[in-house]
């Protein structure tokens, strides 16, 4: 089936019928699933993109920020991820959950960035914590909040990433495994160690 045409979805909640127009069949935009919105955008509906973007901009940005620890770099990676999504809209198929697909692109982008910087392909074990003199990050945070963000930033990349995916998008173990291209047990292990370290850093949590 050509991309961009109205089609039946695997998710019955979308209630899309291939025999009706997109405007008739698809629920109100704010009720539409991410997958339905992405297909509408692929069909030329720019407003569908606006809704998708509003839903995912914050979590995606914070995921990248936790991953790289730098505001400017997070912004660059953020724009790059959306650019890739826009370019590949014509090929979009509902093969997996939209969130998983989007964050897989973001994960790959982070990994590519680090591999360019480190030809050995090793991920940095630690990244500098967000500095206290970056007001755009810490504005409005209480002291405990600052400690949590700093503690997360001090985690190894894989653990930090797993925490960010769980917290920002509520991904399950299987979904985190899919995004990061590792096994489910590996994700469990990473989260276990991350929780232990965060608990140690925040004894009163």
């Amino acid at each position: 089936m050509p991309y961009g045409m109205a089609s039946t979805f695997a998710n019955p909640a979308s209630e899309v019928n291939a025999d009706t127009t997109a405007e008739q069949a698809i629920p109100a935009p704010h009720q539409a699933t991410d997958e339905a919105l992405m297909q509408r955008y692929a069909g030329g509906d720019a407003h569908a993109f606006d809704i998708l973007y509003a839903r995912h901009r914050g979590p995606l940005y914070r995921y990248l920020l936790r991953g790289c620890g730098d505001t400017d770099l997070a912004g660059e990676l953020f724009q790059d991820v959306w650019t890739r999504l826009i370019r590949s809209r014509g090929r979009y198929r509902v093969k997996a959950k939209f969130t998983t697909w989007l964050f897989r692109i973001a994960h790959n982008r982070l990994v590519d960035h680090y591999r360019r910087k480190r030809p050995t392909g090793e991920m940095p074990a630690d990244l500098p914590a967000p500095e206290g003199d970056q007001p755009e990050i810490h504005a409005g945070h209480r002291e405990a909040a600052d400690r949590l963000i700093n503690a997360i930033a001090a985690l190894p990349f894989e653990q930090r990433e797993a925490i960010a995916l769980k917290e920002e998008r509520g991904l399950s173990l299987a979904e985190i495994a899919q995004v990061t291209n590792v096994g489910r047990e590996t994700v469990k292990s990473r989260l276990r160690y991350a929780l232990a370290k965060l608990r140690e850093a925040l004894p009163d949590e």
């Binding site: 089936m1 050509p2 955008y41 069909g43 030329g44 509906d45 720019a46 993109f49 606006d50 973007y53 901009r57 914050g58 940005y61 914070r62 920020l65 912004g75 953020f78 724009q79 959306w82 650019t83 890739r84 826009i86 370019r87 590949s88 809209r89 090929r91 979009y92 198929r93 093969k95 697909w101 897989r104 692109i105 790959n108 982008r109 990994v111 590519d112 591999r115 990050i137 409005g140 945070h141 405990a144 909040a145 949590l148 963000i149 769980k166 917290e167 920002e168 509520g170 399950s172 173990l173 469990k188 989260l191 276990r192 160690y193 929780l195 232990a196 965060l198 608990r199 925040l202 949590e205």
Partner: protein
């Protein structure tokens, strides 16, 4: 060293851990507004919905006009000949419709569907060429020999370095179809994944 236990992990996965509560209160960084505007503008520029809605009726109108023009041309074009029988042969070589009306047999013969590959002897060469523009088999097309996968990968990487992203995607898609199991460098594997390319046909 204390080893984290699964009880805590299960609580965490269920969303019942105090860490999640604190994180939700804490993490409120947002992308800058200028970045939002730039991305939205890029998305809108890439998906002109109004133009697409005009395309279909415009295409239909164009086909209709072309069709009418072709019929008009066939009726008045001097090269169009009726069925070449003695009853309708016109020494001037022009279509004699009055003769056709007086002698309906060749008209009926002409109206019978002609197999594309076996033209009737009653059809003039000019009409044959108009009715069956593709009757001649094209010269045997030889598929260009595919370069080796390694050379294709080099080519794709050169396209990416030159900023020719779309051409690189097409070349990568072709590589995946012709060599579905060929191991790709990580960067190309990631690109294929993000572009949802696969060896499967639609």
């Amino acid at each position: 060293m204390n080893k984290p236990d699964d009880t805590e992990l299960e609580r965490y996965l269920a969303g019942e851990h105090p860490l999640s509560t604190q994180y939700r209160k804490t993490a409120n960084e947002q992308p800058p507004a200028e970045l939002d505007n730039a991305i939205r503008q890029q998305a809108h520029d890439a998906a002109p919905a109004r133009q697409r809605r005009w395309l279909r009726p415009l295409a239909a109108a164009a086909v209709f006009i072309l069709g009418v023009g072709m019929v008009f041309e066939l009726q008045h074009h001097p090269a169009v000949q009726p069925a070449a029988t003695s009853a309708t042969a016109n020494p001037a070589g022009r279509t004699d419709f009055k003769a056709l009306q007086d002698n309906p047999e060749p008209v009926r013969a002409r109206k019978q569907p002609q197999p594309m590959s076996a033209p009737s002897r009653s059809v003039s060469p000019q009409l044959e060429s108009l009715a069956m523009p593709d009757v001649r088999r094209p010269a045997a097309t030889r598929k260009p020999a595919q370069p080796a996968p390694g050379a294709q990968i080099d080519h794709i990487q050169q396209l990416l370095e030159a900023g020719k992203h779309d051409a690189a995607i097409k070349a990568l898609e072709q590589l995946l179809k012709t060599h579905p199991g060929y191991p790709l460098p990580d960067a190309l594997a990631h690109l294929a994944e993000s572009e949802q390319l696969s060896a499967e046909s639609e």
